[in-house]
């Protein structure tokens, strides 16, 4: 993506995650931050839990390889700078409330006039239109409204939100794929587009057969199944943590052989048509097998015998992982303010490689961009600062 110019007007997780990988692929991503900085600078985690806008782990992860320009879109000077940058960009990514950019003369109707081949990507909780367009939301309410929460957690308890900020992250991954697709379209056909990505819609599109089965057959399929979809498709406690297997009929015999338990290699357990009727007994046997082994032993057995099995890896495990080291998956940085950082560094391996630059300080590239590239006089910067434009 070298030579491709991206203006990142987004904050938080979704938009910045999408723009992060464009930057990793070599695009010149200019992140326009409000003078107070992206909201993720206030999110942490921080070294020793001491809040500081330049050491928020969320910001530092999501903004690698970008340049930072402070720009206040509520001032006319700020809008002029943003307009100049967007009109020359190939891709504009934003996550503002629906209508926000239009009100400031920077929406897609303006952009398509200024540059018909430009791609604008709006990524928001519910999209640009519809009755929820301005509905306030957080990760947990989005998780609920996308149908994902209803199927997650213990069937005998309340539904469970999964870890981290998955609604925002998955929307960001979708936004990245959508941006690349639309940009390719612009290259091939000479015409850009406006992508309207809704986190609710992208998450709801990944519900497996749950929604489709209901639509097709007119009934709920099943609700939450917890960690045990069935005895051979679940997570079990083991000696040093938790491990799991996910066995389809064709994988069963190898798993049974790996346990070395003769009973499992005979009917009724080795017959897919009878197995479910004896699921509780099978579960009890497998509890016993898992309980006597470590996570690594169980994973080694899965590898040796060739069945789908693994363990619940922690971030500590992943930082120490031979597999991750072999694939050079993590990037290490000794950040001058935040200290040592180990982050995922690529989405895939390919000929192009991925840049591994650091996230910018707030406004780090103001001078470089305004004076060096947009032709402002160095004296203008003080004035713009005074007007709270940058």
């Amino acid at each position: 993506m070298a030579g491709v110019r991206v203006i990142d007007l987004s904050q938080g997780i979704s938009g910045p995650y999408a723009a992060k990988w464009l930057a990793g692929l070599g695009a010149d991503v200019i992140k326009l931050e409000p003078p107070a900085g992206d909201v993720s600078r206030a999110a942490g985690p921080w070294p020793n839990a001491e809040p500081h806008p330049e050491t928020s782990g969320l910001y530092l992860y999501l903004n690698t390889n970008k340049r930072s320009l402070t720009c206040n879109l509520d001032t006319s000077d700020g809008r002029a700078i943003a307009g100049q940058l967007c009109a020359a960009a190939d891709i504009v990514i934003e996550s503002n409330p629906a209508g926000y950019l239009d009100e400031r003369g920077l929406g897609y109707d303006w952009l398509r006039q200024a540059k018909p081949a430009a791609v604008m990507v709006s990524v928001t909780p519910f999209g640009q239109t519809g009755p929820y367009a301005h509905l306030p939301s957080t990760e947990i309410t989005l998780y609920a409204l996308s149908g994902q929460m209803g199927v997650t957690g213990d069937p005998n308890r309340e539904p469970l939100k999964n870890g981290g900020s998955q609604p925002s992250y998955q929307a960001g991954l979708h936004a990245f794929a959508a941006t690349q697709t639309a940009y390719l379209g612009a290259l091939r056909h000479g015409l850009g587009t406006h992508l309207d990505i809704s986190a609710q819609e992208t998450f709801a599109s990944m519900l497996e057969y749950f929604a489709s089965y209901t639509a097709q057959n007119g009934e709920e399929y099943r609700a939450r199944m917890g960690n045990m979809v069935s005895a051979v498709w679940g997570i079990y406690p083991c000696l040093d943590g938790y491990a799991g297997m996910c066995i389809l009929p064709r994988n069963y015999d190898r798993m049974a052989a790996a346990t070395g338990i003769p009973e499992l290699q005979q009917p009724p357990f080795n017959d897919p048509h009878q197995r479910l009727e004896h699921d509780d007994t099978l579960q009890a046997i497998l509890y016993g097998w898992f309980a006597g082994k470590t996570r690594k032993q169980l994973h080694a057995a899965a590898l040796e015998f060739g069945f789908p099995g693994g363990y619940v890896a922690t971030v500590e495990d992943l930082v120490a992982s031979d597999q991750n080291a072999h694939r050079d998956f993590l990037q290490h940085d000794d950040h001058p303010l935040a200290g040592p950082l180990d982050f995922p560094a690529h989405l895939w391996r390919a000929e192009h490689g991925w840049d591994r630059g650091r996230a910018p300080l707030l406004g780090q590239h103001n001078h470089e961009i305004l004076v060096g590239e947009l032709g402002y006089d160095p004296d203008d910067l003080a004035r713009l600062r005074e007007l709270d434009a940058i």
């Binding site: 213990d154 981290g164 979708h174 697709t181």
Partner: protein, 420 residues
């Protein structure tokens, strides 16, 4: 002249060797956005997704009718071809010569064992974009591990972050690693096409499904590398927001999620609850005290929600700008006001059911036409048309190909087994 109805991938052809979920999800996205995706299945090596969660009634066409299969293979064409027979492989070569992308999600060693090495693929078409998406990638000591989505979620670190707070990690309700890897694989295919457009060169993608899911928990890596701390299980609670939980509503297994991020939202929630006397208490005066008293507040709020339907709680919260989401089940989701207002669902028609609704555009864009132009292909439905129109096979050869089991119009011996 291009206009907004032109799809970004119009004119791109994808040879789709994927099975199950992650790969077909990626190829589905490419098909939705205009690519001619040719789904290739051998008569004896058909996509297992056909037999997972089969439709409610076993009919003559049941292997073409499952909701799972239909959702992931709409807008694709179906070609049956036995790649283990030389003639089948030779025909695949001709297809690849006319394709822009080959995508596969086999275990690392399978393509090579079929003789479909990178070298062979490139010999058919030098500037091909090849996307491999094995669970753990093509290289490294764990590259031979088998991973379906739930295993990927466990090995990625995500499952270690989810739990009620009693130490037990939890899986997501879906096979989370699958669609997540699928999105990234679609992005990889398109990135390869961008590269080819700009440089004339093809690209070979080695994507590890596990790495994609790991990329979605970046802040947990920051917490570890900065402070050597693992992110604790918070259940439905939040580090600083309170109240923040799932609350029971009237009816069986009915829930609503509510979260309050500031004083204004708290005032809104209090108003939504009709100003109960307890809300004037010091315990809820500011964010910090609400967080400190979150157990008490949760109990009070649950007493309010319990007497109401989740829809009524949602309406009351909406009226006062409080972040709230009823925990939709799949029936609710199909009726969701926002999704329907935006035309999210489109009809699809399989051989055994009346038309039913499934999601259309995942990435809404300036094109406003329908997304679903064709249901998933019946097994081998387009074999004849692809062989004769694209691959130069004479019509008269088709019976011999069928006789040899190289092509077929139904999968050979699919077992009727639901895994659950």
């Amino acid at each position: 002249m291009a206009d907004y109805a032109t799809k970004p991938l119009d004119g791109i052809r994808v040879a789709d060797l994927t099975m199950m979920w992650a790969g077909p999800y990626a190829a589905k996205l490419l098909a939705d956005y205009g690519a001619d995706v040719v789904k290739i299945e051998a008569p004896k090596q058909w996509d297992n997704i056909r037999t997972l969660f089969p439709p409610d009634q076993i009919t003559e066409q049941w292997f073409n009718s499952g909701a799972y299969f239909q959702e992931f293979s709409r807008n694709k064409r179906g070609l049956s071809l036995d790649l283990k027979q030389p003639r089948g492989k030779e025909l695949l070569g001709r297809l690849i010569a006319q394709s822009d992308v080959v995508i596969e999600n086999y275990r690392t060693e399978v393509m090579d064992s079929l003789g479909l090495t990178e070298e062979w693929l490139r010999a058919q078409r030098p500037d091909l974009v090849i996307v491999s998406m094995a669970g753990f990638g093509k290289t490294g000591p764990e590259s031979l591990s088998m991973g379906y989505g739930p295993i990927i979620e466990q090995m990625s670190g995500l499952a270690s972050l989810s739990g009620y707070g009693d130490g037990i990690p939890f899986k997501s309700g879906i096979s989370y690693g699958d669609p997540i890897a699928g999105i990234a694989a679609a992005a990889a295919a398109v990135t390869g096409l961008i590269r080819r457009h700009r440089t004339g060169q093809g690209m070979t993608v080695d994507l590890s499904q596990r790495e994609i899911v790991t990329s979605l928990i970046g802040e947990a890596f920051a917490l570890w590398s900065m402070n050597q701390r693992l992110q604790p299980h918070l259940g439905n609670r939040h580090e600083w927001m309170a109240p923040h939980n799932a609350y029971p509503c009237r009816g069986e297994d009915q829930w609503v999620a509510i979260s309050v991020a500031n004083d204004a939202q708290w005032a809104g929630l209090v108003a939504a609850m009709d100003d109960p006397a307890w809300a004037a208490d010091e315990a809820s005066a500011d964010q910090a005290s609400r967080w400190a008293h979150r157990d008490d507040l949760d109990e009070r709020i649950a007493a309010w929600t319990q007497a109401r339907t989740k829809e009524d709680v949602f309406a009351a919260c909406r009226a006062h700008d409080v972040p709230c989401g009823p925990v939709w089940n799949s029936t609710d989701l199909l009726a969701d006001e926002q999704l329907n207002a935006r035309g999210y669902y489109e009809p699809i028609k399989d051989p055994d059911h009346a038309a039913w609704m499934t999601h259309g555009w995942v990435w809404r864009w300036t094109n406003s036409g329908p997304c679903i132009l064709a249901a998933a292909p019946n097994f081998g439905q387009h074999t004849r048309e692809i062989l004769t129109e694209l691959l130069g096979v004479d019509e008269s050869e088709l019976p011999a190909l069928a006789q040899a089991g190289i092509i077929a119009d139904a999968p050979v011996d699919p077992p009727i087994v639901s895994v659950l």
